[in-house]
């Protein structure tokens, strides 16, 4: 009887400790801007437009770049001061399809800066810039092409 009472008491204490164990504050991921390849004219031969993580734009093949707003994508990974020091691993898709009606283009070579693996201590944040390469077909149909891709950050 005495023993049972003790057990109940201990379990109650343990349960309270378990529930009240301070959960580390959550790491947050916010988007700063989209990946924008800007405006271009497709040629009679295929080509590419690449946006570096720095935002620098280059083209190859039959693509003519037109002055327009371009940008690498950017996210902010933030670990609050009340969080715990974490390691992260960044994961991005290998390729994404963007489309305009029934016309499509492939975006690949998706790259990030900083590199995939790193540490993010409590009270710090990291801006993750994402660049990629757009593959423009010969005589690619005109239109505004859009698509989405997901940045996943694993935390350890």
């Amino acid at each position: 009887m005495e023993e049972t009472r003790w057990r109940i008491a201990c379990c109650a204490v343990a349960l309270t400790i378990g529930l009240c164990a301070r959960l580390p504050a959550q790491v947050t991921l916010n988007k700063n801007r989209d990946l924008a390849f800007g405006s271009m004219i497709a040629g009679t031969s295929a080509g590419t437009v690449s946006i570096a993580t720095s935002g620098a734009v280059t083209s190859t093949g039959g693509v003519t770049l037109i002055p327009s707003t371009t940008s690498s994508a950017a996210f902010t990974l933030a670990n609050p001061a009340s969080g715990t020091n974490r390691f992260y691993f960044i994961s991005l898709p290998g390729s994404v399809t963007i489309s305009s009606g029934s016309s499509t283009m492939t975006v690949n070579g998706i790259a990030n800066d900083p590199p995939n693996i790193g540490a993010i201590n409590a009270g710090t944040s990291r801006v993750i810039n994402v660049g990629a390469t757009l593959n423009v077909g010969a005589n690619q149909a005109s239109g505004v092409y859009t698509g989405t891709f997901t940045l996943t950050v694993f935390l350890f």
Binding site: R7, C11, I17, Q26, L35, M40, I41, V144, T146, V153
Partner: protein
């Protein structure tokens, strides 16, 4: 016996506490973003007709003949306008992405020649400003006029040359 029960309960409590905090640990965050690009219709400039100042007669004093983008002809100085070949502005068709802005570059001056004689054509003007925006159908008519400088006693002849107009998206 009593203490063993306490110990077991304490261990269970610690394990429970640990598992509770492990289960709550955040393992990943993710967010989607847009990727976008715009493919524009190619910008094309198609020749329609030449710039023609028509027929004129020089005199002992210099003068000028101007053809406006609307093909109206006027003169200054010692030049007399005569009827003959109808004066007209040059005409091009611009085709491209609707509602898209583009620049128009006209030459500063060109020389037109007849054998060893020449006249300077300058002050090129167009009916469209630069930059212009293509209308909804993506097509515009570009008319170009200019002024030719006629020297005193300019030798007779048919003077001709070519000039280049350039359009580009901006």
């Amino acid at each position: 016996m009593k203490s063993r029960g306490l110990l077991l309960a304490a261990v269970a409590g610690i394990l429970l506490g640990m598992s509770a905090s492990v289960a709550s640990a955040q393992s990943s965050v993710n967010l989607s973003t847009n990727a976008n690009a715009q493919i524009l219709a190619a910008l094309r400039l198609t020749f329609v007709r030449d710039l023609n100042f028509g027929s004129l007669v020089p005199s002992a004093s210099a003068g000028t003949v101007t053809v406006t983008p609307a093909s109206a002809r006027s003169r200054t100085g010692g030049v007399t306008l005569v009827t003959g070949a109808a004066p007209q502005s040059a005409r091009f068709t611009v085709q491209g992405q609707r509602n898209k802005s583009y620049t128009i570059a006209l030459p500063a001056s060109v020389s037109i020649a007849s054998g060893g004689n020449s006249m300077s054509v300058a002050t090129f003007t167009s009916n469209l400003p630069s930059p212009s925006t293509l209308p909804n159908n993506g097509r515009q008519t570009l008319n170009v006029g200019a002024t030719v400088a006629v020297a005193a006693d300019q030798p007779a002849g048919t003077y001709a040359s070519t000039f280049t107009v350039t359009v580009a998206y901006n």
